[in-house]
Every structure is written in C-alpha cells, then in structure tokens.
Amino acid sequence: MANRALDSADGPIGGAGLPASIEIEGLTKRFGSFTAVDGVSFQVRRGEVLGFLGPNGAGKSTTMRMLAGFMIPTAGTARIMGYDVQTHSVAARRLLGFLPEGSPTYPEMTVEGFLRFCARIRGYAGAELDDRVNHALGLTTLRGVALQPVETLSKGFKRRVGLAQALLHDPPVLVLDEPTDGLDPNQKHEVRGLIQRMAPDKAIVISTHILEEVDAVCSRAIIIAGGRIVADATPKALQEQHPSGKLEEVFRALTMEAAA
C-alpha cells in the first residue's frame, strides 16, 4: 500500500515529494448509455485545497461519491492515503471526512446527539468522545444549537452540522461537496477561513460553482465538463487563459466548448 502511494508521487502540481493523499486514476461511471464521469484522473497532496468546478450535471458529485466509496465506479480506482476505497473501504473511510451533497443528517436527532453518534461510529469513547464533539461544535460555531433537533435548524446550520461531522476526527483527507451552499455571506466567510486554517495539514477537495470561492480558498482548480477534466491549474494560471483575466470567462469558455 505505502509503496503504491510513493510510486505515484510525481503528480502535475505542487507537493515537495510527498505521496499524494488522494489518488484517482481513470475513474469512470456510466448509467446505462450515459457516461457521467469519463476517465477522470488527478492527485491531491497534503497542503493542497483543490476546487472542483463544473456546471450542474458535469459529474462533480458523482466523482466525489466514488472517491468516498459510496458509488461503485464502472472503471478506474480511487485511493485515500494509499487505501483503495473499494477493496479497503473501511480503512479508507477512517481517514476521510466527507460532506455529502446537500449535507444530509437525521432530522429527529439533536446536533450533539448526531455528532456523538458519528464519533462513536468512528471509535471514540468516554472523555475523548466528549472532546471531539466539543471541538467540532466549536470549529463550526454550533454550540448554541447543540441541543436542538436538526430538523428545526435553518439550511446554513444544517450545512455546518454536516461539516462538523466531517471534521470530527481531524481526518487527513477532506472531501466537501458544496460546503458553503445555502450559507449567508458571513457564514461563507467563516467556513472559508476554517478551510484555509486547516489547509496546511490536510488534502482538501471542495466542489463548488461559486467561482469567487476558488479565488478565496483554493490553491488549485479542476474544471470538469461533460464528465471530463477540461482544466487543471492554479486559479491564477486559469485566469490568465482569458484576456479579461476573469475566472468566470474562463469557466464559461471551457465548459461551453465541452458541452458543444
């Protein structure tokens, strides 16, 4: 396992010789005759924040679901810290913090009850469990609503409950599907700050269609359209691809081209 991770340390960008925390090779998902994700490959190293961009239906969530081991790929492999998410799924998922699309939570549980459940599943007990839950509540500023049932919370709070669950075990790999969706500008700012503070010690993938977010937090951006990667570069390098210097224009040019 460790060897395989080391072998593929020569990715396209960054990483001072560190093995990649996330390795995706030729990931493909077909639904009948429709190809949702088509041969996607990339690596993410510790310290990188990868912005995963694309129009709706481009295959962002499908790729993330396969990376989290939830969806079985038609072809290709995904590894987290060297563990294949299909063959060593439990080991891989221990090292992963995953926020699924829409931040699903059990509506009848309280915020604290839900986080305690996740912590117990992750093997924590006693004082350590209390610490973990408390820490996650603090990071996502949820202490004030800790005893409220999740169903009584607003969309922004629910999103933060999902985020707290993903951060609970301080995982080396974070995969967040639209972490700031439904948050107000202040909350967005907070979550971006949180991601930036965690960035040095983790490999983080966030999907978004808010382009300013890429500028704000990502060290690298991948644009996906029609299931294929159409760009993989730093936000700065991407901006330079269009005379206007606007990420929005680059995004439109690249994704319209792929759709045509």
């Binding site: 989290a68 699903p104 549980m109």
Partner: protein, 243 residues
C-alpha cells in the same frame, strides 16, 4: 460489534423520537386485545391459556411489521442519509444488522407490553406458563422473520408504499405456504415444490411454539430464514445504495 450496536441504538432512539413508536405500540395492543377478546372468545372458552392471543399474533404482525420496515432503507435514501451512513467507517453488513436488531428490539418491547394478558390469565386460572413462554418466543421469531423480509424489500425500492406492499405480500406467501389452498395446488402440479412450501411455512413453525414445543429444528429454521434475508438485504443495499 460495537459499531453494529451503535447503529442499532441510534435507530431505536429514532423510533421513540418520532410518533412511530407510540402509534405502532398502541395499534398493536388495541388490535391484539380486540382480536383476542372478541373474535378469539378469550372468556367464553373458559380455558386458562393464551391460544386466542397467539392465533392472531402472526396476522397482526403481518400487517404492522412491514409498516415498520418500509422506512428502514427507503427513508435513508429519501433523506440522503444513506450516503452519510455508508461513508462512515461501517460495513454494509454492520448497517443492515444494526437496523434489523433495532427493529427487532422494538418489536420485543411491543410484545413485552402485552404482559397484562399473561397476568389476566394467571389470575383467572392456572395456565401452563411454560407454553406461554414458548408462544412468546415463537412470536418474537415470527417478528424477526417478517422484519428481515420487510427490511430487504425496503432496500429494493426508494418508494415506501411499494416497500410496504411488497413486504406484506412476501411475508404473506411465506406465512401461508403450507395452507391447503397453496399446498394442494403445488403438490398436484409441482410435487417437489409442494414439499418445499410445507417446510418453509412460518405459521406451521409458529404453531409448534404455541403448543409449548421449542424444537431445535424450528430455531434453526428461523435463524436460517432471517440470515438469508439479511444477506439478501446486504447485497441489495450494496447494489442499489447509490441509485
């Protein structure tokens, strides 16, 4: 095992956090009471046993248990929490078993709440409490068998109504497999299948228990039956989780 129990505990708390538990237990007790006392002629028989109670028990379960199980997986898909649960470090087997154990514990609680029947029959006469115990054990096993079927049906579809109807239908087929209408027909047309259905009939197995017989072969039957459907459930969840 602790992961399985953590999932089971969360599930069981979920029943009591919503009106599901209250509605189920109240309806169960009312139905069992009405059927035992009215249709079953509990008092008119003047026999100190719980036979009228046990006669109706599988049929009440047949109606109510798929109502519990229909939401097991269908609800997780509707809320999207299946994606959360199955990306935590748990295996599908642990998730399936945890949900099943919670539902079974819940049925056990409902069954325990029928204790006034036992007290009543003991005040009115001197019943064979060993037979009553065997009947309760059989009832719990029937509940487990129906739950395992219903849970598998819930994994098959994201529509709760379909999960309920399929659950009732499949449970019914297994319940009455030995009924002359089914069995005579099969014995004439496909003799081998007639023999098979006689062996898998849940009601026949249950009747052994209500006569006070706790036979090893019946226990093995229920263990195999539940094990098979839990395995099927695991396969279905694995195949259809992301649909």
């Amino acid at each position: 095992m602790s992961t399985t129990l953590t999932i089971a505990e969360r599930e069981l708390r979920g029943y009591f956090a919503t009106p599901v538990a209250t509605v189920f237990i109240v309806i169960f007790l009312v139905l069992q009471g009405a059927l035992t006392f009215n249709l079953g002629g509990f008092f008119d028989r003047s026999i100190a046993d719980l036979n009228p109670f046990f006669t109706f028990l599988p049929w009440v379960f047949l109606l109510l248990i798929p109502a519990i199980t229909m939401r097991l997986w269908a609800e997780e898909r509707r809320l999207g929490t299946i994606e959360l649960l199955l990306t935590l470090p748990v295996t599908q087997g642990q998730a399936v078993l945890g949900k099943f154990l919670a539902a079974w514990a819940f049925c056990a609680i409902a069954l325990l709440l029928t204790f006034p029947f036992v007290i009543a029959v003991n005040i009115l006469g001197s019943p064979d409490n060993g037979v009553i115990f065997a009947g309760y054990l059989g009832g719990l096993l029937v509940a487990g068998a129906f739950l395992s079927v219903g849970a598998a049906m819930s994994a098959l579809t994201r529509n709760q109504v379909i999960a309920f109807v399929l659950g009732v239908a499949v449970c019914f087929v297994f319940a009455v497999a030995s009924n002359p209408i089914v069995n005579d027909f099969l014995s004439h047309t496909v003799p081998a299948l007639g023999e098979f259905t006689r062996r898998v009939a849940i009601i026949d197995r249950f009747n052994d228990f209500t006569r006070g017989i706790i036979a090893l072969r019946d226990l093995i039957y229920f263990a195999t039956f539940i094990g098979f459907f839990l395995f099927l459930n695991t396969v279905l969840v694995d195949q259809r989780k992301a649909d």
